[in-house]
């Protein structure tokens, strides 16, 4: 028995050593970092499982570290021990990581599959979505959602302005504990045209104006941190309105049957996508995987599991029905023409520049 145990230990140690040598070994394990929950699940079913089926020598392991992806990349680079092979992150963080040399630059046309009709990748991905080191997967949006049971049937809210109107639409509101999205909405509700929001926010008066607007509803606000809290608060009727990610709100409304309705007015649109950490052990294997996972069909497949829009133009027509519910996913996409009437596209350049200061200002505002 003791001998057996020792033998097992030795085998495990040898196994660990072999796995550690990376590409030399026949089997490769890729550590893919993502957001966890329903989102990782959609990636597993749309990308990982089909890929592992085609490539039995590849094993993909999930790590739910994306919320702190930039911190993780910095720490791993500082320690000289990069254990992540592929990371799902937001473009603003990806831009910083790229400038700091933490992730690899991407030559999109050389590294990514063209569209089925031969359009090169750089023209197929939606305009403005590609970054120097960033390969977008999806368009997601932060949307205002309300619980239909909290308002009388003949007086349901329908716009961001209604969110700021506590007289006609009473009840508490849950917003995320960060300035991004909230400041934009405050200005939008205060009458600033959508394409001028960031110009106004770049001025000190604009920031004052946004906070002044938020002050008008401050007594009714509570703040959430994790994406899962928002639908929870709304389902518990702790709040009448909650801001949240449209995929989670979709899941709560359609999968769980909660009485939620999304206000697409002023949806804050942002990309989310892949980056490849520099100095990883399995860069070649990751690149092969990325070629597969970001082609038009795969991006469209992800929409079977979660209501985020594919980042390729050629994927739009391939979007079909939800894998379990069988409902048409198109009307639930942030990019569907009906929903994409008054979108606010998140300005990452703005938030990388002004984020440090505005986050502190917002924190101070929340506390006092």
């Amino acid at each position: 028995m003791t001998l057996n145990k020792a033998g097992l230990f030795a085998a495990a140690a040898v196994g660990a050593l072999v796995a550690g040598t990376g590409p030399v070994a026949a089997d490769t394990t890729l550590t893919v970092v993502s957001w966890g929950g329903a989102y990782t699940e959609s990636q597993v079913r749309a990308y990982h499982e089909p890929y592992m089926e085609e490539n039995p020598d590849i094993t993909i392991v999930n790590d739910d570290g994306s919320a702190n992806a930039l911190a993780g990349l910095r720490a791993q680079a500082q320690a000289g021990n990069v254990t992540w092979d592929l990371v799902d992150m937001l473009p603003s963080d990806a831009q910083l990581a790229c400038e700091e040399g933490l992730i690899l630059p991407i030559d999109h046309d050389a590294m990514l599959a063209p569209a089925p009709d031969g359009t090169p990748a750089s023209e197929d991905f939606l305009p403005g979505s590609l970054g120097d080191c960033f390969i977008p997967q999806i368009v997601y949006s932060t949307v205002m959602t309300f619980n239909t049971e909290m308002f009388p049937e003949d007086n349901q809210p329908g716009s961001i302005a209604d969110f700021f109107d506590t007289e006609n639409f009473p009840g508490r509101r849950a917003i995320q504990d960060r300035p991004a999205a909230n400041l934009e909405w405050a200005l939008y509700a205060d009458g600033v045209a959508i394409d001028e929001i960031y110009d106004v926010l770049r001025t000190p008066e604009g920031v004052e104006r946004a906070f002044a607007k938020l002050d008008t509803i401050k007594d009714d606000l509570i703040f959430w941190t994790e994406g899962s809290q928002a639908p929870q608060l709304l389902a518990d009727k702790e709040v009448s309105f909650a801001t949240g990610y449209n995929g989670r709100m979709f899941a709560a409304a359609e999968v769980e049957g909660q009485p939620f309705e999304i206000i697409w007015d002023g949806q804050i649109v942002e990309w989310d996508g892949w980056v490849v950490p520099a100095d990883g052990d399995n860069v070649d294997a990751v690149m092969e995987y990325l070629y597969f996972a970001t082609d038009s069909q795969r991006l469209a497949d992800q929409a079977k599991y979660i209501s985020y829009g594919p980042a390729r133009a050629s994927s739009a027509e391939l979007v079909s029905t939800h894998a379990d519910l069988g409902i048409d996913m198109n009307p639930h996409m942030p990019t569907h023409p009906d929903n994409y009437q008054t979108p606010i596209v998140l300005d990452n350049e703005f938030w990388t520049d002004y984020g440090d200061e505005l986050r502190e200002r917002f924190a101070s505002w929340m506390l006092n």
């Binding site: 504990d177 986050r359 101070s364 506390l367």
Partner: protein, 427 residues
């Protein structure tokens, strides 16, 4: 006794020191034995000592260093940092030599992580510096001297003396700016440290709030824990054991589970509000807000930290002989006087231990306030985590952590001076 002393002194040889059987001086032999014992004792401690040094003291030292370390400008803009040393009149823009040095640095750094790292660092001081540097790095590649006009023409930020003052200030390998920021202060144009604008102040209030909340929580655990400990110490073993299990059971339950159950209990559509409505104490419209605010933090943390107060109190009360109270009563003290003048003073060691334990744990608490504290129930540790994980301003996180650490050490020192650490009794 006296006889024994005499007989021992009888054995002392009148001419020399005491000897052992082997003819060695007793003092030497004794010292050797003592040394061996000390070495053995030390050898037993070594693993723990090494463990603590490697996993605790070194990381904490490193963290404390992070709060003053400032390598970015000096490493990635070395020529600029050097050229700025000769910048005399801080009310005027630096001269062409400095701009030329900047252009050289940016050329050398283009395409490497250098510009990104300096940009991230300087962006903490002035919003927008990150992209200002990126733009300048792109622009200087095909610029001809003189650089001063050319650079300023591309981006007016370089024509602002304030930009240069900040670069000059941060061009030393060590800085106090993280501590200055952690105390809600900044430098004005004359180089004096002043408070930041009221709407930007966070941390001082937060430190104060953290202390106040911790004191309130400590007081509440004492108020609730003292009677429980008293009851446990004065009941027959069978009942005392049962009570002990009731105290320990929540102690063994996952922290997250306990915190989440408080949310279920306290929220507006929660159990407690429902009961109050059922009893007719409040109306449907008057549901109380007991969670996602300070109340939530206080209630949940008091519950979670209660065992840390009860256990030391119990172990001290267990050792107080009941005869003292009876003696006080028989000497004419009434029940209250006997309790207050005779019993309570004997429990101070337990109160001290429980109080210090609860207070120090509370002051650094993180998960519970994050989950049930809303905004008004957040503590300083939530902001340390925020700067570690979200804003990635590790220098500021380190400065906040160092301030917290030294405050706790200071409090411990004061406690030692006023009450005495040797009077702590944990059980």
């Amino acid at each position: 006794m006296a006889q024994a002393t005499i007989s021992r002194s009888d054995q002392v040889a009148p001419t020399g020191p005491m000897m052992t059987a082997t003819g060695e001086p007793l003092k030497v032999s004794l010292a050797r034995a003592e040394r061996r014992k000390r070495l053995t004792a030390f050898a037993l401690v070594v693993p723990l000592l090494l463990f603590i040094v490697v996993t605790f003291i070194v990381p904490i030292g490193d963290m404390a260093l992070n709060s003053v370390r400032n390598p970015e400008v000096v490493t990635y803009l070395p020529r600029t940092a050097e050229a700025l040393e000769t910048w005399e009149d801080k009310s005027q823009l630096p001269d062409e030599a400095v701009f030329e040095a900047l252009a050289e640095d940016l050329r050398a750094g283009f395409g490497s992580p250098a510009v990104g790292r300096v940009g991230a660092r300087l962006n903490y001081e002035i919003s927008g510096m990150r992209s200002t540097l990126q733009r300048a790095a792109r622009a200087v590649r095909n610029m001809e001297p003189p650089f001063k006009e050319a650079i300023i023409e591309r981006d007016a930020a370089w024509g602002d003396v304030a930009t240069w003052r900040v670069i000059e200030r941060e061009s030393k390998p060590y800085t106090l700016s993280y501590f200055v920021a952690a105390l809600d202060r900044t430098w004005d144009e004359n180089g004096n440290i002043v408070q930041v604008a009221p709407e930007q102040r966070i941390y001082v209030d937060l430190f104060v709030r953290t202390f106040v909340l911790s004191i309130v929580i400590t007081a509440l655990t004492l108020l609730l824990g003292f009677p429980i400990a008293y009851l446990m110490a004065h009941q027959p073993a069978r009942i005392a054991n049962l009570l002990m299990i009731l105290v320990l059971l929540p102690f063994w339950t996952s922290l997250l589970v306990r915190t989440s159950s408080w949310i279920v209990m306290l929220q507006q559509q929660g159990v407690l509000n429902d009961i109050l409505i059922l009893l007719g104490i409040i109306g449907e419209g008057g549901r109380l807000t007991m969670v996602y605010n300070q109340t939530g933090t206080i209630v949940a943390m008091t519950h979670i930290l209660l065992p840390f107060m009860v256990l030391p109190l119990y172990s001290v009360m267990k050792t107080i002989p009941p005869s003292y109270m009876r003696a006080a009563r028989s000497l004419g003290a009434n029940q209250w006087t006997a309790f207050w003048r005779v019993y309570v003073p004997q429990t101070t060691a337990g109160i001290g231990a429980g109080g210090v334990l609860v207070f120090i744990i509370a002051i650094g608490y993180y998960i519970t306030p994050a989950l049930v504290g809303g905004q008004s129930g957040q503590m300083i540790s939530n902001f340390i985590a925020f700067h570690m994980q979200r804003s990635l301003n590790w220098g500021l996180a380190a400065a906040l952590g160092t301030i917290l650490l030294f405050t706790v050490i200071l409090l411990y020192y004061l406690y030692n001076r006023l009450i005495g650490v040797d009077r702590l009794k944990l059980g």
